[in-house]
Symmetry: C2
Subunit: 121 residues, 2 copies
DNA sequence: GGAACATTGACACGCATGTGTTAGGGTTGG
DNA sequence: CCAACCCTAACACATGCGTGTCAATGTTCC
């Protein structure tokens, strides 16, 4: 009963029907289905779609970026590995001698990848 | 003096010289330059390049993803906006009545976007 | 000074993303 | 029952990413 069908949802959110299906396939906004398989968008989802539009526009990012951000929140090991890699940019700790820097870095990276539990060869 | 030139760096890191230039342009690993403009890769950078390779491979992500993760750490407003959007997926707080859920969500989104300080129309 | 390397810039190609459109076939509602 | 909607699948096209390669030119070093 309640829930807009795809064309109406498109109308009120500014997306095209085509894009609503695409966004659904990307997993970002997945509407429920009617008995006969029609997509039904509830009010929260309409709001989410509008906000998503604004998000992408105002930060010039893509759906893939939002998807990746979601992966980061859901996969702590991914998050830890990426964060660790990025932090290797940080300033060298004062208590680490210059000659030890490399092995320090190497160890840190190894710890991170091990912590990330890579199963691959 | 110390620092490998691009071909040697490529050799020991598993990247191609082409990709090292590409990675530099993406801002992820930027070597210093010799007086005459040659790229010089230091030990930390070589290590970072190896680790980057491992990172991309073991999590099936791309350079763009790592770049986006970096943006997330550097742009708190982006981070807040994305996080906020993703959290709208979370379970509805028990103290918020169902009828208020939409306006709650809407307010939250507005607060987040305002906090994100979008200058755009 | 010449072989072996570096630089930037460009052409190119395959694959993924974002988006429209069309085709063939169900569903709904007056 | 028929117009107006929905569904999936597919063709199509622009753009961007990852990557190789080639051209024109400068640098290093024996």
């Amino acid at each position: 009963m309640d829930g807009l069908t795809i064309n109406d949802a498109a109308q009120t959110t500014g997306w095209s029907p085509r894009m609503l299906r695409y966004i659904e396939r990307s997993g970002l906004v997945v509407p429920r289905r009617s008995a006969s398989g029609y997509r039904l968008y509830g009010p929260e989802q309409l709001q989410r779609l509008r906000t998503l539009r604004e998000l992408l526009r105002s930060f010039q990012i893509g759906l893939g970026d939002v998807g990746f951000a979601r992966r980061l929140r859901r996969e702590p090991r991914l998050s830890a590995a990426v964060t660790g890699w990025l932090e290797a940019d940080a300033v060298r700790p004062a208590h680490v001698a210059a000659d030890d820097w490399l092995s320090f870095e190497q160890d840190k990276h190894e710890r991170l990848l091990v912590a990330a539990g890579r199963v691959n060869s």
